[in-house]
Amino acid sequence: MGLLNALLLIFYGKLLGASTAYVSVTGGLMGKFSPGFIANNQYFSQTPLGITFEVAVVAGVVFGAHLAFRRSGSKKEEFSDAWLSRFGPNRVKRYLFAFFGGMLLIFGARLAGGCTSGHILSGWAQLSVSSLLFGIGVFAAGLPAARIIFRRA
């Protein structure tokens, strides 16, 4: 993964990232249905929308992971063991958490300007100050959150 990112920067001038793709896809879709909203929205207007490089990367990720999954011959898991042992098999609960968590992920990522890939994998590798700060934020809140939500009995 480290080598991939380095080669990407050297030969293509870009680095791995994922959260901008979420904005590009959403903005691109919304643009088809209500272009006025997009044009009037400051954030969507300043972000590349539609099918961008990063959108292609994220699409590729889905495909590549699928390939690895098929080749590994694993059975598809419904929910991870960690979740099951803490919260049980209730699907609604899991999906609520997942949905809400997803909202926080992207809201937080866009506020910070990147996510775990864009800021940490790519940003820490460049020793970028914004990314180091991001990392501090992630653990300052993520560590207590993880421990509280998944507290051991």
């Binding site: 889905v62 929910f79 997942a98 775990t116 100050v129």
Partner: protein, 207 residues
């Protein structure tokens, strides 16, 4: 919509997704273990990747062969956004990238996470004009790197500063590996076989 961008993107993404799955960081237990610092697998994967990339690009950058593209620093937004994302990771068990990889592995909750992510994107776009003056504009220093900052403020040569920081990261990796002992990520020993980080996991994050 540049076709080269799309083709390169798909290929790079496919390799990345393959690695993400192999490195086993697509599991909720793995993510929570990493955030709570009880299980170092995710952190080791990330840091090995970071160090590998840094060791390649920093020397090349100081030779002028590569341009770094750091993200802009705006202290409050970087910190607050990180915090919000960190909580999201604990709650969802994914990050925006591993959610996509897990979708490829057929996990329905990954799809739900991604849908929530789309809503989050819209919410942010709507809230942006209100947030901007408080969290994005203040304490904005541009696209700075730590070695660059140290060079400017203390006169330390930036490559030396960079290598020093990278050495600290490596020390962190060594420390975390010792701490990791024999715990695999999020799954019982029966499933993965051995207890330590699988060798293909460590190799995956270097690649």
């Amino acid at each position: 919509m540049d076709i080269v961008d799309i083709v390169v993107g798909l290929l790079v993404g496919a390799v990345w997704g393959y690695i993400l799955y192999k490195a086993m960081v697509c599991d909720h237990g793995c993510v929570v273990g990493g955030l709570s610092m009880r299980n170092m697998t995710m952190l080791l994967v990330i840091m090995t990747s970071v160090v590998t990339t840094a060791l390649i690009i920093y020397p090349l950058s100081s030779l002028g062969m590569v341009s770094l593209i750091p993200k802009p620093t705006y202290v409050l937004g970087n910190l607050a956004g990180g915090a919000i994302l960190g909580i999201g990771m604990a709650v969802a068990g994914y990050c925006p990238g591993t959610a996509a990889a897990s979708l490829g592995a057929g996990k329905a909750d990954a799809l739900v996470t991604i849908l929530g992510g789309f809503v989050g994107a819209v919410l942010y776009a709507v809230a942006f004009p209100w947030i901007k003056p408080y969290l994005v504009e203040p304490m904005a220093y541009g696209k700075i790197t730590l070695p660059g900052l140290l060079a400017a403020k203390l006169g330390v040569p930036s490559l030396a500063a960079a290598l020093f920081i990278i050495a600290l990261f490596i020390a962190g990796i060594v420390f975390m590996s010792r701490f990791q002992a024999d715990r695999a990520c999020g799954v019982t020993a029966g499933k993965t076989g051995s207890g330590t980080v699988p060798p293909e996991g460590v190799a995956a994050d270097k690649i």
